[in-house]
Symmetry: C2
Subunit: 432 residues, 2 copies
């Protein structure tokens, strides 16, 4: 009864013997926080089938640690390590250059690569996967998005049978730390300084607070969830730096808090994506993430919403994702080949909005705003003006029923031009 033509046959008979014959030889490229955590897990847990053989770093001497087995080669010559007998390069240097060249050279040489490099994968992942397939290697990047949270295996394996229609996430721990501290009453500048002191934020925080880090991660998730290959630069990020304590106060009155959310969806065949601060209902899972935690919500046509949350960054959680990818390679577990196609990204959503104005008070402002909204057929949900603010710098909020992003922008154009506006009106998507 054992059919010799079964398509499962080849894998099941070849797999265990050939693959586990000797351990995978692993070279870590970049011995920083994550690199040393990966080495630590390999040395402490001794996962079956994995052997650390090389560590590459610039000026590697200063990186040496005594708890790594004596046989491990410490090198500052990337080409030499790639040309050696290693099977897998673990690339943890990040960025395009020189990490991109190492990854390409390794794949070209038929090696496999495990990386946490979100930028490289977001911009060049499709081409690199093709190169890997051509040369007989594998490319795995489970650590590139939401570090310790297995969202990439979840999408590749557990949700492969669904048709994901929307993906939303809290993908940048720095922004979540800053916004959750601001929610407790702190000022942006104070929290940013604290985040920098704790090592959560860079000296130049633009990548994080500007939304660039999150959009690279979103582009990677869009490939796996929505099955589209997009240019991350087509996703316009909005910074969290425009959020002020008054917005948290108004948000709370509306039963919400504020988070940096990355979201993408397919509606009527079109792809829309955006990254930026948004109002999220306190009853939404997006409000659960505290501090530097990450979260991803995948909404499937068949399975509904699935939530993944946990520690998105840090040496150990990210290292877990790397070691899990290494184990998958050692055990011959390939990702389900999710078909994807290039797509353009729009920014047209249809959701309720929160719009906060800061004005020098004078008669007629509300009339001007409501007229502008009415001209675009946008329904007002609420107008809220809390007492206690001076009339020369008066914040107030208008919330509107679900409307197209483009319609709201058209409505706000004449409003922005009003001379009573002290700052640009702040419009945020409201997620319920």
């Amino acid at each position: 009864m054992h059919s010799p033509t079964s398509p499962l046959e080849a894998s099941s008979t070849h797999a265990p013997e050939t693959r586990m014959a000797r351990p995978l030889r692993i070279a870590i490229f970049g011995f920083g926080t994550v690199g040393s955590s990966v080495a630590r897990i390999l040395v402490e847990s001794k996962p079956q089938g994995l052997e650390l053989t090389h560590v590459f770093n610039r000026r590697v001497a200063r990186k040496r640690v005594d708890w790594v087995p004596a046989g491990v080669v410490w090198s500052e010559d990337a080409d030499e390590v790639i040309a050696s007998g290693v099977d897998v390069i673990v690339e943890l240097a990040g960025g395009f250059d020189p990490a991109g060249a190492w990854v390409r050279n390794a794949l070209q040489a038929g090696k496999s690569v495990v990386t946490a490099n979100k930028k490289l994968i977001a911009y060049h992942g499709v081409a690199l996967e093709r190169l890997a397939a051509d040369r007989g290697g594998h490319l795995k990047y489970g650590a590139a998005v939401a570090g310790g949270i297995p969202v990439i295996p979840g999408l590749e394996q557990g949700l492969a049978g669904d048709r994901i229609e929307r993906i939303e996430g809290i993908l940048n721990g720095t922004c979540n730390f800053i916004l959750s501290k601001m929610d407790e009453g702190a000022e942006y500048a104070t929290v940013l300084a604290l985040a920098q002191k704790r090592g959560y934020a860079e000296a130049d925080p633009t990548e994080d607070v500007g939304g660039f880090d999150a959009r690279a991660k979103l582009a990677i998730l869009m490939r796996l969830a929505l099955r589209v290959e997009v240019d991350p630069d087509e996703i316009a990020p909005r910074p969290i730096t425009t959020i002020t304590p008054v917005d948290f106060s108004y948000a709370r009155d509306l039963g919400c808090t504020i988070r940096q959310v990355s979201r993408a969806e397919r509606v009527e065949g079109r792809i829309a994506a955006t990254v930026g601060p948004m109002l999220v209902s306190l009853r939404s899972p997006l409000a659960w993430s505290q501090g530097t935690e990450n979260m991803v919500i995948a909404s499937g046509h068949y399975g509904g919403d699935v939530v993944f949350s946990g520690h998105g960054a840090g040496g150990h959680p990210t290292a877990v994702a790397v070691v899990s990818d290494l184990l998958a390679l050692a055990h011959g577990s390939r990702r389900v080949d999710i078909p994807s196609a290039p797509a353009r990204v729009g920014a047209e959503f249809e959701v309720p909005h929160y719009i906060r104005f800061l004005v020098v008070d004078r008669p007629g402002i509300v009339a001007a705003i409501t007229t502008a909204l009415a001209n675009e057929q946008i329904n007002i949900r609420a107008i809220v003006q809390k007492p206690g603010y001076p009339s020369h710098a008066l914040p107030f909020v208008v919330t509107v029923e679900p409307c197209k992003t483009s319609a709201l922008q058209r409505a706000l154009t004449p409003v922005r031009a009003l001379d009573c506006m002290l700052v640009e009106p702040l419009d945020l998507q409201m997620l319920e």
Copy 2:
């Protein structure tokens, strides 16, 4: 540079050609809610590499639907289907008999099996996996725990690199529905009747409310997370039927709600597991699950807590897990072979407890209880007695600092014997 001895070689060269040569031929065994959802996804989404060829059901004629392709064979002869050219049996009948025989026969014949059968996997999974490996097939059961939530791929793939030390979950949607409705003020009997009407609960609800369903799922998760093979019968479940509205009232005063929680942990090399109602802090993710939702929290030595949540049951979510398993088979993605070993299960935890008494009031009760606790070195955290209850049926609550389960049981033995006790004292773990 392309080393011909790479352990990754065999998989990468054989895989795509051999495996995808023709689609996997799939037989669905059991055309109920989940079975027809699986067929629906296969027919509508046409996932690459999967072809529905057979449907088996008793008295199959009444099951026929017109949206299934004409070429599909409808059969009531299980042996004949297994002996046909199918590659994978999707077993959705559930229970030990006759489903167990079908699964064994299929694996024996070198076929692969995808199943949602938690009981079969919890009690016989290890033996069945061995049989599959011996005969060249594969056994996948991503749908057996928490249906649409990819916790099994998450543990097998994304968290394989960690050392999971504790697993906690809301694994039974029926209990979660009942308890979250009771939290809103409803009585147990009323909610049970509603759950039965909506199809969430069986006419005999014992499997669900008694904790038997959840403990089977917990045993499966323990294998993957804690890497132990346990006899599910060693996990003593506690029913949710002892919970009364007064407990929700006291729980709320303590900043908690009540959920049926399944939890297991490894402490100092010993395995402890339990299933039953527990107090969970409103700030804990366990309190987030509403209605029939499921949730799993895996706590890793390296990566910390990872939360998975979503729809644990229902035709479509469960079918997504089945189809994802089928895709993994079609793409040759094998699970990371997590080593596991047989282990005994204890019930010794060290957590705070909530103990609710219902007494005929008389002097000396609190003295007797506090003395009994003191004799076991158990520290009292709070004694709470809310006003408004009659003295002939007076509920009050004692909460205690973390203590061993066994010590608390010893302390409660003389207390249970007090003639003022109207019912057994209810002691619940408190999770913070």
